[in-house]
Symmetry: C2
């Protein structure tokens, strides 16, 4: 069912990435099974171009200490814990088993016996971290400019923003939840959980070796997403190079999150024809309208026998397409969510959108501004949460820690 | 890490259950992989003794029509959809692909291309369905007596109760969510979603062939749970036999749900010693205190060198043990949940408890009453939602439907 275009076949083989390539711009290899670990150390953080795992636990923290040294201590402790957790170990050297019974365990225990499950932990720093508390104002990257207000958005402040975020992706939700919970435990007294979000069923592929998954509108999502095999595009459009006067961000990237509630009950009563015209692809195969296969090139000039464009002037795929935005790409790795029901007889469900890019001002913002203004899909969706984070470069083994280049 | 006692080894082999055994009291065999389907038709509904799958989407509906005939129509439509969905098919014969493009699709599409993933759908009828709307008052089973108020519970009415529930269990959350969403879609105008709950990381084994999983307190949970291999206990304590004047329930059972919020941040700051004494088992292995292995028999008389019981007088495992409740057992198949955060810097997490039994008045109620009164664990948990449902017998192939014995 999930066809892969010929161009996507077997570009990346299975098997763990060799340690020697960690600091190159090589593609991240797939773990050979969903139990295996991904390397924690590297030039870039894992969890960005890493082939998207199936489950997400995302958390945004507020920093509650006002002492810079305590924040740095925390980042060092978190880094040590993340290096262990991502390799399938317990969070601390004194785990739930053995050690001093009079002390609270250094690991909460619910992942004991579970494998690494492809866990990645990816940290980001929100604009609010660059206020006057920690002396970081001068280091705020210009690319970390506050997002504009988009037409129609209905953001809930309590589940938006945050000083620090951590994205945990894994093939087992228990492993992702365990990791976030232990970071929160370690952070006690220095950070508190501002909001958190569980997700399932990755809605984007980040590698051509992955089949394209479906979002809760039932459509394949992310067919033309930036993928780890797109070396030139990743260099130009994903990784920061200190290009905005923020040398500390070289090798990092910028993350935008949007929690997009879908009015799925309304969508489900919309005809197949209308659904496909709104999206610009057919629902079954995922092919651009007028084409046959998912990875066929979109032809925005093609017209049907009625003389109208096969892909409508306001179809979602047209409005968002890089060719209409100066070739601006995003690397997306969003997840479906269902947060129970909304008290009005409807499921509280939708897409937790996550996108990585070199500069949101040139990538996410113009694309989303166009969509927010005229996309017919807006009748069926509502943006309720927003996040923006500077994602620092990866960590090297031995004394390095998350965000060191920012603080030193 | 997850050791299985010798008694539990290889009692049930892999491989699909033979059709000829569907109406026997045979154990339900394991699907041979996590992609395979379980049979939908049978004497009992699937999803009860079926080896617990890893993911849950549970929904409670309010019936919004007051016409009995419309309710029966819906149950018939749901049964047809469930028979398809559990076998990995789309919800309706006109799926998202092909058919009339002017109509809304008979399937929402997000599970296209995904396998059955062990999906089971299990329906139950709440006490409120037996009011005067549908002429069912005289058929209300005496075992479906309203639960008493338990000390300390803080139930939220909006996420408790419901006329009808459906438990969807699968190895893939997208498949479970897809099933519930399509049942809600089919029910439009006749039912509306009252509440729904996602869960992950089953917290009980329902077969001796499964390793015991861990709850979010980090302890193995359900070691001594009723399991599908316990034929005598299942007959006596799980399946209803029309023993309470409700012949229509023969082959059915009764379900209790409790959403139990855990104060995990407080728990995480409790010493290992105290955690183990509260539970009565060691955290690493799951062995009863004073014993070595998970499945060792609990010895409530054993005393330590200080003359005090190895398993404290108020340890959770002692308070809940069948030997102190007239040998009352439960078949539990609960799930962990994380519903984001609570706005107070804490994860909103815990256990969605599901238990099946022949008569809650003799099983869940006395056990929970004792726990609610004196279990030291109450300092760390809070019951916020409650559900009680009569789970009708299974459906036979050909003209039968969910709840037919109740309505005919």
């Amino acid at each position: 069912m999930f066809g892969l275009g010929a161009a996507g076949a077997a570009v990346v083989g299975a098997g763990a990435v060799a340690a020697s390539s960690l600091f190159d711009e090589q593609p991240v290899a797939h773990a050979s099974s969903t139990s295996d670990p991904y390397p924690f150390y590297g030039r870039h953080q894992a969890g960005i171009v890493t082939p998207a795992q199936d489950r997400l636990h995302f958390v945004a923290f507020d920093v509650t200490t006002d002492k810079r040294a305590e924040l740095v201590d925390l980042l060092q402790e978190w880094t040590a814990a993340a290096a262990r957790l991502t390799q399938g170990k317990e969070a601390g050297s004194f785990g739930a088993v053995g050690g001093a019974p009079e002390a609270a365990p250094d690991d909460t225990g619910e992942a004991l016996g579970l494998p690494a499950s492809g866990l990645t932990l990816t940290i980001g720093f929100g604009p609010s971290l660059f206020d006057d508390r920690f002396g970081l104002a001068a280091k705020r990257p210009s690319a970390l400019a506050d997002l504009p207000k988009f037409p129609g958005e209905q953001l809930i402040p309590e589940i938006s923003g945050g000083d620090i975020c951590v994205q945990a992706c894994a093939h087992d939700p228990q492993v992702a939840v365990h990791a976030i919970r232990n970071l929160a435990r370690i952070g006690f007294g220095r950070v508190s959980v501002r909001w958190s979000q569980l997700g399932f069923g990755r809605t984007s592929s980040t590698s051509r070796a992955q089949a394209t998954p479906r979002n809760l509108m039932g459509f394949k999502d992310g067919t033309n997403n930036l993928k780890l095999e797109d070396a030139d595009l990743l260099r130009d459009q994903l990784w920061a190079a200190g290009q905005d006067g923020s040398a500390w961000m070289a090798g990092g990237t910028y993350m935008v999150t949007r929690k997009i509630r879908m009015m799925i009950e309304t969508w489900d009563r919309t005809s197949l024809l209308e659904q496909e015209q709104i999206i610009g692809r057919d629902k079954g195969e995922g092919a651009p309208l007028g084409k046959k296969a998912e990875f066929d090139t979109l032809d925005f000039a093609a017209k049907g026998s009625d003389g109208r464009p096969m892909i409508a002037e306001d179809a979602h795929v047209r409005l968002a397409h890089p060719s209409f935005h100066g070739n601006a790409h995003l690397l997306r790795r969003g997840y479906n969510f269902v947060d129970g029901s909304d008290g009005l007889g409807r499921l509280d469900a939708g897409l937790f959108f996550i996108a990585y890019q070199r500069d949101p001002r040139k990538q996410f913002v113009p694309v989303q501004m166009k969509l927010a203004k005229i996309d017919p899909l807006n009748e069926y969706i509502k943006h309720v949460s927003s996040g923006l984070f500077a994602v620092p470069p990866g960590v090297r083994d031995g004394g390095d820690y998350w965000g060191r280049t920012l603080f030193e």
